[in-house]
Amino acid sequence: MTLPLIQIKNLSLRYGDFLALNDISIDFMQKTCVVICGPSGSGKSSLLRCVNRLEEFDSGEVIFDGENLNTTKNISQIRSNIGMVFQHFELYPHLSILNNITLAPQKVKGIQRNEAEDKAYDLLDRVGIIDQAKKYPDELSGGQQQRAAIARALALEPKLMMFDEPTSALDPEMISEVLRVMRDLAQNGMTMLVVTHEMGFARDVADEVVFMDKGKIIERNDSESFFDNPRSDRAQEFIDKVLQKI
């Protein structure tokens, strides 16, 4: 039996008095696409940020690919093996799209500029915006920017891709182009953690769904079973409310 890619044990995170993550223990295996959903403030984004230690958690352990995040001396290298995509894209506005993508490979992995650029063009082609390479972020639409952000995260050939509400800030007509890229990634075997409200994606693409509320994991199931047969009342309530909106 293979070791899980991510092992989380008794993870807790506080913001002042507010308990964002309450003693969470969960494992994630390679090559699975997991959607994490739940109401606002349930701790979904915080959970993601603990996995690459962008948030310093208060207690518990996170072990990524065998390395304990508490004791590692190499957090930079670990982070370069995890790609993260943010709700508001967070491209660097003062750099061209191409440079946005080639920056980390050069600075973190020491890859030569030419090689990094070739790789970048490949990725831009994969996400469908190769002609935008020399432009600056503010010249692109939201959907294009998010796809560029995905390419930036992929440039480091990560073992895990994390998406923090990747389509929440997009106009409706641009959501599908981003979801399409994410679906391709999942189908090609990328390990993915996706925080999203896009239940269609959860049902059709994700292997598993994790439902969180108030800092705790309420339910975890394969995606079909989750939607057809939620085990908890809160999950059922949530599904009803979200599907009603559509």
Binding site: N52, S76, G83, A104
Partner: protein, 217 residues
């Protein structure tokens, strides 16, 4: 009124003006550099760095520049055991003083970029110092350019204080000529005019930068 004293002494006066520019120029370059570190210290998550930076800034901003100059003139010979030329001592005082002011501008520039850009950069494996250097500071500078230019004008105006310790900058040169030719009216009005023109140009530049800073590429 006899304004011919001005062209008659123009070389001497312009030499003084050069010195003022030198003092201002070196001050700006040095204190801005120091200020970047202090500003980063101000936003650091470690208390052992954050508190001293805050104390430094607040201490210096509570004191008049002229008092800081007096402090350094007293302390520098005491500590180093020898007397430095006036320009150097004044420069040190100015750099320390204005570093506190520039630090506040840089700090607000850094904070205007937003913490999530920091997280985005860190998430790709960049170290904190790479993030600051390559991602945050370049963006911050663009945002704070108008405020920086305004502060530079203030530095230039501040060089007049070097008069008090006898440094031969523009105001001092003016007062020497005024005494010698007994024509204070013409000379001080001339000095006022020169500063007026230079500083007005500076504030106009700052205004222009402010208006254009939100324009996209």
């Amino acid at each position: 009124m006899d304004f011919s004293v001005i062209p008659n002494n123009i070389q001497f006066l312009m030499l003084g003006l050069m010195r003022s520019f030198q003092l201002a120029g070196f001050t700006i370059i040095l204190s801005l550099s120091v200020a970047c570190f202090i500003a980063i210290g101000r936003v650091s998550s470690r208390r052992t760095i954050r508190y001293p930076s805050a104390i430094f800034v607040n201490l210096l901003r509570s004191n008049p520049l002229i008092l800081i100059v007096f402090w350094f003139f007293f302390l520098v010979p005491l500590i180093t055991g020898k007397t430095l030329p006036e320009f150097h001592t004044v420069l040190i005082a100015f750099v320390v003083f204005f570093a506190a002011y520039f630090a506040e501008i840089v700090r607000s520039g850094i904070q205007s970029v937003g913490a999530i850009q920091v997280k985005a950069a860190l998430s790709t494996g960049l170290t904190y110092s790479q993030t600051m250097r390559l991602i945050i500071l370049p963006q911050a500078f663009r945002n704070m350019l108008p405020a920086l230019v305004t502060e530079c004008v203030i530095v230039f105006q501040g060089t007049t204080i070097a008069y008090v310790i006898g440094m031969r900058e523009f105001l001092h040169s003016t007062s020497l000529v005024a005494e010698r030719t007994v024509r204070p009216v013409e000379l001080y009005l001339f000095a006022a005019l020169v500063y007026l023109v230079i500083c007005f140009a500076g504030t106009r530049l700052a205004l222009f930068l402010e208006k254009n800073k939100d324009k996209s590429r």
